[in-house]
């Protein structure tokens, strides 16, 4: 597949790869290589300008937009700029995916408190994003992305603003989700993060193309359950 914005040059060219169901992937490459664009295709914020995307067994390239919300609810996204709603509390930001999926306030309370506690923000539940530090905002964004136990987790530099200890805890969380069957795709420059994650695959992008079509396997996926 390929992707271009407007009439500009293609930012992604001739990409052809499969993500195994339950796999753990790192997406690496220099700045401007197209990592964020590729992630946008994965979390259905963009359609490719050519080629096809098949996700959760469905051909989504030409799927009507009314179909997309049901697939987006199966995807958790950690944005590089966090994308927290400024006027909502940390609690409400984390609760958003559950509420959109139709959970009542009572159903939301427990899981959100638990998740906030897990990312170390139990006492910041009522704080609004502008009053949180960068690292705290990032943890709220991660909590929001995983609260629904997504089938696919897409994270863009998820540890960029947190200290080493928190980065390790977050990667443990991603690993735990992965062991429960969530496919994880993490875009990062952090080599330490990659080497500390056994069983992960690496996809390297350069100038909008995958440089190593074999996938540059570090380790085979822990428990491949098919193809996404």
């Amino acid at each position: 597949m390929g992707l271009r914005y407007g009439t500009g040059a293609e930012v992604l060219r001739d990409l052809d790869f499969r993500l195994s169901d339950g796999g753990f992937y790192f997406l690496t490459g220099p700045s401007g290589a197209g990592k964020t664009s590729l992630l946008k295709l994965l979390y259905l914020a963009q359609r490719p300008t050519r080629g096809r995307i098949r996700l959760f067994g469905e051909e989504l390239t030409e799927a009507p937009r009314e179909m997309l919300p049901q697939f987006r609810r199966r995807i958790g996204v950690v944005f590089q700029d966090f994308r927290l709603v400024r006027h909502l509390s940390a609690f409400d930001n984390v609760a958003l995916p559950l509420r959109i999926a139709g959970a009542s306030d009572e159903q939301v309370e427990g899981p959100v408190r638990e998740m906030l506690a897990w990312v170390g923000l139990a006492d910041r539940a009522s704080a609004r994003p502008p009053t949180l530090s960068g690292g705290e905002q990032q943890r709220v964004a991660i909590a929001r992305a995983v609260i629904n136990r997504p089938d696919l987790l897409v994270a863009d530099e998820p540890t960029g603003n947190v200290d080493a200890e928190m980065a390790q805890r977050l990667m443990h969380l991603f690993g735990a989700l992965n062991r429960l069957g969530t496919t994880v795709v993490v875009a990062t420059h952090d080599v330490g993060l990659i080497s500390a994650t056994p069983g992960a695959k690496m996809i390297r992008l350069e100038n909008g193309a995958v440089t190593d079509p074999t996938g540059a396997l570090r380790n085979p996926p822990a428990s491949p359950r098919g193809q996404r």
């Binding site: 919300p69 996204v77 400024r86 995916p97 959109i100």
Partner: protein, 289 residues
């Protein structure tokens, strides 16, 4: 049916507590006020025209140029014509008083010949040609005039004004709708980021629209009711004059049905604003992926 109006506190928090951006509620209040005043005037005109039409529809006048003493005989004869429901002669004194407005004291002069005038009403379905033939046989020089023709231009003006009023109500409703569309687009711009996040997490257009729809409905309702309250006060102040006008025209005031219609107008305006806002928001959301 109204679940969108009863959004949970968490849903309400998504768009913040502020009302619609800009003076939308004020614009709707002004529109509601204007619509109610104009609609009331239109309905009163329609009522007046109706009363006037009913009063003159079957009324005719016989004018005997020579006037004179055979009026009583003519009146008796006319009353016996089949199809004539009632007949009355206009007293000579009343005729002279009427002429006095133009002629002054000379109107009372016995040298001034005053025509005799007999008004009569016919029954529905009466043979008018036969009645006219009988009248001409009784008073060969007499002319028969239909009141409908005489008052026709006034009635046409009243009807035209009535339609102009209803046209204005329609135009004001369209203007209110346009204001709501602009407000909805403004609100979408203000909350674009929140909408993008919601869409990204899997919110449907319907879920996003519900938030805006509820907010716009509340603002439209507040504006409509405020405008209606102001219009109600003005209409009450006009009520005395309207009652007087009603007496002049034989009871042409707003009926209970008219008042119910006026009371429903603010609700109709709210429904229109909500529907228009919904359509505008949905159309805007469909442009995004």
């Amino acid at each position: 049916m109204f679940d969108w109006l009863l959004a949970s506190p968490s849903e309400r928090r998504l768009l913040g507590e502020a009302r619609l951006r800009g003076p939308t509620a004020w614009v709707i209040a002004i529109m509601s006020f204007s619509i109610l005043i104009i609609a009331a005037a239109g309905l009163a005109l329609a009522s007046t025209a109706g009363v006037l039409t009913r009063a003159i529809e079957a009324r005719y006048s016989i004018e005997v140029p020579a006037g004179g003493g055979n009026v009583a005989a003519l009146l008796s004869a006319v009353r016996t014509i089949p199809g004539v429901k009632s007949a009355d002669a206009v007293p000579e004194l009343e005729m002279r008083q009427t002429l006095e407005r133009w002629l002054g004291p000379a109107a009372q002069s016995s040298d001034l010949p005053v025509p005799a005038l007999v008004n009569f009403d016919v029954q529905p379905g009466a043979n008018l040609a036969a009645i006219q033939q009988r009248v001409r046989a009784l008073a060969p020089g007499a002319t028969i005039a239909t009141h409908r023709e005489a008052v026709g231009p006034l009635l046409r003006s009243l009807r035209l004004l009535q339609w102009v009023a209803f046209g204005l109500v329609l135009l004001l409703s369209l203007a209110a709708s346009a204001a709501v569309v602009l407000a909805a687009r403004g609100a979408l711009d203000t909350h674009r980021f929140t909408i993008e996040v919601m869409h990204g997490i899997g919110a449907t257009d319907e879920q996003v629209t519900r938030l805006f729809q509820r907010k716009i409905a509340v603002d439209a309702l507040v504006g409509s009711l405020a405008g209606a309250a102001a219009a109600g006060i003005v209409l009450l102040m006009l009520a005395t004059g309207a009652a007087f006008a009603g007496e002049l025209t034989g009871g042409a005031t707003l009926s209970v049905g008219d008042l119910i219609l006026l009371a429903l107008l603010p609700l109709a305006l709210t429904a229109l604003a909500t529907g228009v806002a919904r359509a505008a928001v949905l159309a805007a959301l469909r442009k995004a992926l």
